[in-house]
């Protein structure tokens, strides 16, 4: 060992140090100031490019998006005609999902943060040592959880919430649970609206109202319906051919090659659930309705999004709690408060603005998140706001995705309008967050 060291050549002065020492030598002073100038130039150009990118991004969206941004855009359901296409179900879907997401995630996140920051185990005893280990593991774990791609959370949500591990029926049936295709079996009649549109021109749209009877169809199982194109003969003699794409009986759309037809069902038409084991509580028409498995419902979406934003909330709340001066805690302890009294009566009130700022930013993350909702709910052609936690939902980013991936130029413009709405909502949230932050700072000083 020692011989190996003695065989090494004598150490040279560290390269960095030598270079640094040379910095002072006037030899290349002009070159070095030139280098400095060039680098500053590069910096300014690169930074300007970043700013320019933002300007181009927002500019292109504003340019494309203003055409269809009319009052009807906020009131209409999506449509196959760009001029009639609206954002209403998506806006309400986002409101429902994000509200319940926060109702779930906020208490859990703040609770975990309180545990991490205020209940640090001291170690010592065996139990305390174990707790301490667990404590640092949780802390590390949360940072790592924040890096998990949101689509992975989507898959977890699909398995745990949407299908519930198939406990309440086979995953297939659970997934298409409510497909009650059900009413389309030969000879059955349902109260429904048939909307017919021609494929090419988007010009003709003639809603035919009244009881609609499917005379004949080759549908016999939910799964087959989902995969294959089918041939339907309507009671009025017309024949349509297409796919059933809905996962919930509230809406089934048939996409034939030449003609398109959407058949809407009212929830009261729901006759039977395909899943025999499914548990249902309450009436599907009321707010108090629960069914298991959750299916691609608002609740499943909210739970999945809660998983996505939980690490963000925990990290933000931890930082807010850490910012509370220790003297406040010590003062309260000196008055004889228990730990929870200290936390609930002094620490939490002081940290509240910080926690609120973090939560607002977490909500805006949840509002813009598309991937997990896409996995959980799929994209459905939904024409109304959710009624209860078990309703299917559309969401703003999902609807934007759907419009953006269509080939028609007009739908790109509709997508841009949607983006404008989404970005304005986020801007408002960010503004509120900044406002809260500033109020907080004023209070501390």
């Amino acid at each position: 060992m020692s011989s190996a060291i003695s065989n090494l050549p004598p150490p040279e002065p560290a390269a960095g140090f030598g270079e640094l020492a040379n910095c002072g030598v006037p030899r290349s002073a002009s070159w070095r100031t030139l280098k400095n100038r060039i680098f500053l130039g590069i910096c300014i150009v690169v930074t300007a490019i970043s700013v320019l990118l933002l300007v181009v991004l927002l500019g292109s969206i504003v340019l494309q998006g203003t055409k269809y941004l009319t009052p009807s855009f906020f009131n209409n359901p999506p449509s196959r005609k760009p001029a009639l296409a609206g954002f209403m179900p998506a806006i309400w879907g986002s409101v429902w999902v994000c509200f319940f997401c926060m109702v779930i995630a906020l208490p859990m996140g703040v609770g975990t943060a309180i545990f991490l920051e205020e209940y640090k185990p001291r170690g010592g005893t065996l139990w305390g040592g174990l707790l301490k280990r667990g404590h640092s593991f949780v802390q590390l774990n949360i940072r790592n959880l924040a890096g998990v791609p949101s689509i992975v959370y989507g898959i977890i949500g699909l398995t745990c919430f949407v299908r519930m591990f198939g406990v309440f029926g086979s995953p297939n049936v659970a997934m298409y649970d409510s497909m009650r295709v059900l009413s389309l079996k030969s000879g059955e009649s349902v109260q429904a609206t048939l909307v017919e549109e021609t494929d090419t021109a988007y010009s003709l749209m003639s809603p035919l109202k009244g009881p609609l009877t499917i005379a004949k169809s080759d549908v016999d199982s939910a799964r087959e319906v989902y995969v294959h194109t089918h041939h339907f003969e309507l009671a009025d003699g017309r024949e349509v051919e297409g796919k059933l794409r809905s996962m919930d009986g509230t809406l089934i759309s048939i996409d034939p090659g030449a003609r398109k037809a959407n058949i809407e069902f009212k929830p009261s038409d729901v006759r039977a659930y395909a899943s025999e084991n499914a548990i249902r509580l309450g009436n599907p028409d009321t707010f108090f309705f629960l069914r298991l498995p959750l299916g691609g419902s608002v609740l499943a979406g909210a739970l999945t999004l809660a998983l996505v934003v939980l690490p963000t909330i925990i990290i933000a709340a931890s930082e807010a709690l850490r910012a509370v001066p220790n003297s406040l805690r010590q003062g309260a302890f000196a008055l004889g408060c228990t730990r929870w009294q200290v936390v609930s009566k002094t620490v939490l009130p002081s940290a509240l603005p910080g926690i609120m700022t973090g939560s607002i930013l977490a909500v805006s993350r949840a509002i813009g998140e598309a991937a997990p909702l896409l996995v959980v709910g799929g994209f459905l052609f939904i024409t109304f706001a959710p009624r209860n936690l078990m309703s299917d939902f559309a969401a703003m980013p999902l609807q934007i995705y759907n419009w953006a991936q269509r080939p028609q130029e007009e739908f790109h413009q509709v997508a841009a309008s949607g983006i404008l709405v989404l970005l304005s909502v986020l801007l408002v949230f960010n503004f509120v967050a900044i406002l809260v932050r500033q109020l907080f700072q004023r209070k501390l000083s």
Binding site: F39, I44, T47, L54, Q64, L131, G147, C337
Partner: protein, 316 residues
């Protein structure tokens, strides 16, 4: 700073409610431990679900473990023989990530150096919010931007024939713009954490700002910068909506970013939006692909956080 007298605090401490307070205390501690345990539970749930479903996938006909990890053919939906070799999807992910890294890593670092070392305070006050806005934009918006602005621009620049309508380059550039604020703000934090004394020492030897930034501050903050790079790369690997919109849907082994590719996340989107039946082999394959994606991003994030933790220890 004077604080109002808190009568409620005083009464809270009174011995009157001692037993009650003690009981509440243990109850709440238990509840908080339960909440914290949930985060560990989530991690294990992710791993368990992915493992179980991946196992089920490998048991299916048409699928072998060897083919999945070592074959370069991914053609499940083309009818006839189905092939599940993950490499074409990996290739797509790597290509998009590489393009994004080429854009975001240098630009992010240079912007961070500018913000931290050069920019006047007033400019900083404007630029920081700009970066925060960039960071807050939903990814679906970047996807739309890639599809409607970057791709047409590339077509105009490089010729209509050489650029496909969906391509890895435009998706990668959009992902790069998306990860730019991550690199920039984390790197800037690292640069700011370098003690002033180091800078002043270098200035005292007659160094220019450039010398100080490149030879002193960046080396001192290197671990923080590397961590920001790793976290940005992890984000790029897991990015979904941009690639779903702009990268295309053809899984192929290619090194040309002008071709269309399918990433791992892109495949999942195609299946979950598409007509594949639940329980089918394509559907289940998403769990296997998701497992690979999870392992990849989790590993990068863990390494990144390790590096970050080390850098924090140095100057705290």
């Amino acid at each position: 700073m004077s604080r109002p007298f808190r009568r409620d605090l005083l009464s809270a401490g009174r011995a009157r409610n001692h037993a009650w307070a003690y009981r509440t205390e243990s109850l709440i501690t238990a509840l908080l431990i339960l909440l914290a345990a949930f985060s560990i539970f989530t991690t294990f749930a992710i791993i368990a679900v992915l493992l179980a479903e991946t196992y089920r996938f490998f048991l299916m006909p048409d699928v072998t473990v060897g083919e999945f990890f070592f074959s370069g053919k991914w053609s499940p939906l083309l009818g006839g023989e189905k092939h599940f070799g993950i490499w074409p999807l990996m290739c797509g992910t790597f290509l998009v990530t590489a393009v994004s890294a080429v854009l975001a890593l240098p630009v992010g670092l240079v912007t961070a150096v500018y913000l931290s070392e050069y920019a006047p305070a007033k400019l900083r006050a404007v630029l920081k919010p700009v970066l925060e806005i960039l960071a807050g934009i939903p990814t679906v918006v970047y996807g739309f931007f890639a599809l409607t602005v970057i791709t047409p621009a590339l077509k105009g620049l490089l010729g209509d024939q050489s650029v496909e309508g969906y391509n890895a380059l435009s998706a990668g550039l959009a992902v790069g713009i998306m990860t730019l604020p991550i690199v920039c703000s984390l790197s800037e934090d690292a640069l700011q954490a370098v003690p002033r004394a180091l800078r002043e020492g270098a200035f005292a030897t007659g160094a220019t700002k450039f010398d100080v930034s490149v030879k002193v501050v960046i080396p001192a903050a290197l671990s923080g910068i590397i961590a920001s790079y790793l976290l940005a790369i992890a984000r790029a690997v897991g990015e979904t909506m941009i690639v779903a919109l702009a990268a295309g849907g053809l899984a192929q082994l290619t090194a040309n970013p002008l071709n269309q590719v399918q990433t791992m996340t892109g495949w999942m989107v195609q299946i979950f939006l598409g007509d594949a039946p639940a329980d089918g082999v394509e559907y289940t394959s998403c769990y296997a692909v998701g497992a690979v994606l999870f392992v990849l991003t989790f590993a990068i994030t863990v390494i990144g956080n390790r590096v970050l933790a080390r850098f924090r220890e140095e100057y705290d």
